[in-house]
Symmetry: C2
DNA sequence: GCATGTTACGTAAACGTTTACTCAAATTTA
DNA sequence: TAAATTTGAGTAAACGTTTACGTAACATGC
């Protein structure tokens, strides 16, 4: 169907080696032949075949990114950063939705192994032994995004969750709040759960406030509905709080909606601070003050790390990205 | 590095043809050899090489999807549906962020041509002659998502924008509104711009209401900030409207935020209906009534169409997906 | 006992590149 | 001018599969 390097060679009356050379700009040919070859390529509409190239070079110019959930703002921001830099390297990105499902993830890894992807980005996912073994057998560079592994020596790029939670809580205190509640998300989550709780506690302790178990409520996950359901519980347990630290923007949004339903005004009656700085946080009423993870940047940093590993083959240092407070209007100054 | 079919063959003492046959379950081998081969495969950790396979079969088990912007809720919902069904077919999806940029899109198409992707999904993008020619030269199935082409015979899956806009406007009238404004988005947009305006006008006419140019304001695009900026303008032009139809949920969210700032209560003082039914619309305060496009479904339908085209090689009928009104709390009953 | 079919496999070509070797011709150097 | 070097190019192997074709061994039917 489509023409091959042979067709080009025949048309110009040179060998395929020569065509290959001009294709790759390797020199070893005259200006004249180069022109003729280039011309024939255009004329025949020749497209190099990536299969053949891959077979020789053992390189696919493709990286894969695995998400527990592709269709979240969190994921798509990261994806944006990744796509941008990967495209800059002339590669493409394959997206995989693991649904945090072990079997599905393994099936994906198998597929990616067969496709010989050049690198893998694992987002927000904890690495099991099964995954790690598979990854090892693939001899493919991996970097973790917004997660890390205590078990396995995989480089990661993420924010320091505990520190960021500390900063958020501390911000609330700086604004004059002393009775601060928290909606924690899933506390079993080793990355986004406990560390944020720890940061919250530590900020309290740091200012000499005692932590009260009643001031914290643990939701199932980090979603809007988790926030929606949790605020009433929190307020029942701790009616005297003046501010809430939500472990995600989605939770914060849910809490704000919940407050609205209960006739509680944000920030007049209750202040709330989120975590993530997703696009929704600007759309919130009132706009949500939050601690920002530079998600898009994290995506691009992670992708760059991947390419460094691919090219240099060297072990890469993990990278803690700095978080910042984005002040909007959901926190009242007492 | 990794072992090949030859290694497996050697280990079991059969020919590579036999290994290939059991690999593909083609029959022509005994139970005994099958077991031995399977065993050796496991033992050696053999992974079929997709390059070699692709070279022979001329099939990549990969489809590509092009978005003007990957990191929007709109895109990610579609991507979700696509990914799900593509994965079901044992293929993977490559995502491309065109940024609505011609050169970048062409570069992507070139890349995809070299990679011999089995199909291409074009989302929310108008097809230029340049794109179409390239697409033709690739002999690759294409389906358009949330867009269509009047020029070129490309199958599409989308909602009927004019009809959906009609339905939204009509809903407002059914709720008792007679003075209805619109924030249109980019009116130059052939797909999401003018048709929605037309639907709005037609609904008005259908109920014998006369259209007033003052009741409509055209923003640059379909984003939150477009809505934020446009509502004040609309209200200045048409202070007496009781409801507004926003051409996207993002615009609607912006309008709601803008109203909040101006002290206008939704829906008491002003009703608003959106378009898309993005996740943000439930997070809105108040939750946004909107006309839903089944985005995830559209993604999966489009992907299925692609596979039909790949397998049957036949021309596929375009598909108009049905829209529905999602009633939430942003529209007041007069 | 022979013709025919079936089963279970092996051989080798083909897919479209890249690249290590060659090598003649042209050019430079001594 | 002869030797040495550079330039421009060709030949063929290799990458890891699939598959058309060939063929022993064995079974079946009469």
């Amino acid at each position: 169907m489509s023409s091959t390097i042979k067709d080009v060679a025949k048309q110009v009356n040179v060998s395929i080696a020569t065509v290959s050379r001009v294709l790759n700009g390797q020199g070893g040919y005259s200006k004249a032949t180069e022109a003729k070859v280039l011309n024939a390529i255009k004329e025949l509409g020749y497209q190099p075949n990536a299969f053949a190239r891959g077979l020789i070079n053992n390189k696919s110019n493709t990286v894969a990114i695995l998400f527990p959930e592709v269709s979240s703002q969190f994921s798509s921001k990261i994806l944006r950063g990744v796509e941008e830099t990967v495209h800059g390297f002339g590669s493409s990105v394959i997206v995989c939705n693991t649904a945090s499902h072990g079997q599905r993830t393994m099936k994906y890894l198998q597929l990616l192994a067969e496709k010989r992807v050049d690198g893998i980005l694992f987002v927000s996912e904890i690495i099991t032994e099964e995954y790690y073994d598979k990854l090892e057998s693939m001899h493919t560079p991996v970097v973790l995004v917004a997660t890390e592994s205590y078990q396995y020596p995989l480089p990661f790029v993420k924010v320091d969750d505990k520190h960021a939670a500390f900063t958020a809580t501390d911000y609330l205190m700086k604004m004059g709040h002393h009775k601060i509640g928290m909606i924690s998300g899933n506390k079993e989550d080793i990355i986004a759960g406990q560390p944020r709780i720890d940061g919250y506690k530590q900020a309290l302790a740091n200012k000499g406030l005692t932590f009260d178990e009643k001031n914290i409520v643990h939701s199932k996950g980090f979603s809007f509905t988790d926030g929606l359901d949790s605020l009433p519980n929190l307020l029942e347990q701790a009616p005297d709080i003046t501010a809430v630290f939500a472990a995600s923007d989605a939770i914060a949004m849910g809490a704000i909606s919940s407050a609205y339903k209960m006739g509680i005004k944000i920030p007049e009656d209750l202040s709330v601070i989120g975590y993530d700085n997703l696009p929704i946080s600007e759309m919130s009423i009132p706009p949500l003050t939050t601690v920002a993870q530079p998600l898009e940047k994290m995506g691009s940093v992670a992708a760059n790390m991947l390419f460094s590993m691919m090219n240099a083959g060297q072990k890469i240092e993990s990278r803690i990205m700095s978080h910042t407070i984005i002040e909007r209007e959901s926190v009242r100054i007492l």
